[in-house]
Symmetry: C2
Subunit: 286 residues, 2 copies
């Protein structure tokens, strides 16, 4: 059931995104390439959280497409040689491998712009709603993301050091978490309701997702994960697993899953698919 | 007079931008560094075009700061080794030289996000205005920029070829032009008026600016320009000067300046500083 709805919402978000991509020009092909594949978990969260407030897919598909565009932007830039230097993404050559680094930089920039164009599409709703979606998305990808990155820095006890590659990676993790949070409370903005419960759900979910990612990097099957594994350890990167150990990391992921589900209590049965999403997040194999 | 107002508007836009920058964290210093300097011509255009409709600086300073953040984003990314590979910008080491390439990529991404956060600040105006500013800024930096880049491609008669570095540079020029246009019609959006005359002004101004840039790359004093000159020719880059020759390029810049001024006729005396801006654009030495 959850997987069926995830797939269905993903088709809706991808179709909306595909419509917004440039049809011609030098970036048309690499942009379309950059957004293909992926489970569409973030877009699912937007559509499903909007559904709690009876917001129709015809409106929520735009912010769903936007968060997938923003996510694709961060993947393309993260894969660049000067960042994580990854050759494979979802089992395919990364954008800068298939084209070149300049294309990778520009595709990411264009996808970020597109995300803001999508959340402010007139079909999304009243101006106040669209402006608030754009403002919080900007803050999530920029300001808040940094604050969260810093919090991770503090956890790793490197906060007093100058800028290091490790801090940059922590910052990126913060950005990932902020985008998860946004995916969830965007539904409440669309529904013109209190975003706080969904913000809490999204924060817990985002951290659980990151821990699951770290666990997959240690124990995952590269065929299923679709990218190289064991990279974090080889790079001496501080992860939840290296900081907490495997057992405590796994326990923490389960606690976060429970916290995420608890945050949805006021929505009752209507939020059951969002609870499934939290369980899926910590049990996924890719 | 024009230079005084340019400087005054620049101080307002910079102060607004400085307030919005992160105060702490690993990107605080490189982001502040990336936005320093610059004449603030784009921010001036926002504030001055908004003034045609009696929109106060307290509102227009946010989109003015936003366009300067977006401009700084494109400069930092353009300077990267995989793009134009520039070591100097405004006479100072570029972000990736002073820090590293990863910092350059992330600073640009964060500045783009910040731009959208700024245009959607509640102080800017009603939701419809803020949403429209964000939507058009997203389209300008993404979609429209690409269309303009393509038009330049066609002019260079390379449109049937696959993606080349030249096309990428053309695309960047398109982006620059689109941001100039946005700076001008943003004032009409703020004033809830027809954006068309200011769009025409901005389009002519943007192309005149690009021609003046190409001329400066050939004839400019590197001390005044604040960056290396003669790079375009050395790189075999197609520019307005290489395509048209110096005389025709200069004439075309003057025609565009006249067209820009003509587009403002309905605003009368109130638009005199915007006309001065057009004249300044083609006569500047840096």
């Amino acid at each position: 059931m959850f997987r069926d709805v995830l797939a269905a919402h993903n088709r809706v978000a991808r179709a909306c995104l595909a419509q917004a991509l440039p049809a011609t020009g030098p970036l048309a092909e690499p942009m379309a390439y950059a957004v293909q594949g992926g489970k569409g978990l973030r877009g699912f969260l937007v559509i499903e959280s909007a559904g709690l407030f009876d917001v129709q897919t015809g409106q929520s598909q735009y912010p769903a497409a936007a968060i997938e565009a923003m996510h694709a932007c961060s993947l393309v830039h993260d894969d660049l040689p000067c960042m994580d230097d990854d050759d494979l993404r979802r089992g395919q050559p990364t954008v800068h491998k298939k084209w070149d680094e300049a294309t990778g930089v520009l595709v990411g920039d264009a996808l970020q712009s597109l995300a803001f164009e999508l959340v402010t599409d007139p079909a999304v709703g009243p101006g106040e709603v669209r402006a608030e979606l754009a403002r919080t998305l900007g803050r999530g990808a920029g300001g808040l993301g940094m604050v969260m990155g810093q919090a991770l820095d503090l956890a790793a006890e490197v906060a007093t050091e100058p800028l290091t590659l490790e801090e940059i990676i922590a910052l990126q993790s913060g950005k990932t978490g902020a985008l998860f949070e946004w995916s969830c409370f965007a539904g409440a903005i669309l529904g013109q309701s209190d975003p706080e419960p969904l913000r809490q759900y999204g924060a817990a979910l985002g951290q659980a997702f990151q821990i699951a990612d770290d666990i997959l990097d240690v124990e995952g099957d590269p065929e299923l994960v679709g990218k190289a594994v064991g990279k974090d350890e080889a790079a001496g990167k501080a992860t939840f697993v290296s900081l907490l150990g495997m057992d405590r990391a796994r326990r923490r992921a389960h606690e976060l899953c429970d916290a995420a589900c608890d945050a949805l209590s006021q929505y009752g049965e209507k939020a059951e698919l969002l609870r499934d999403a939290a369980r899926f997040t910590i049990s996924r194999s890719n």
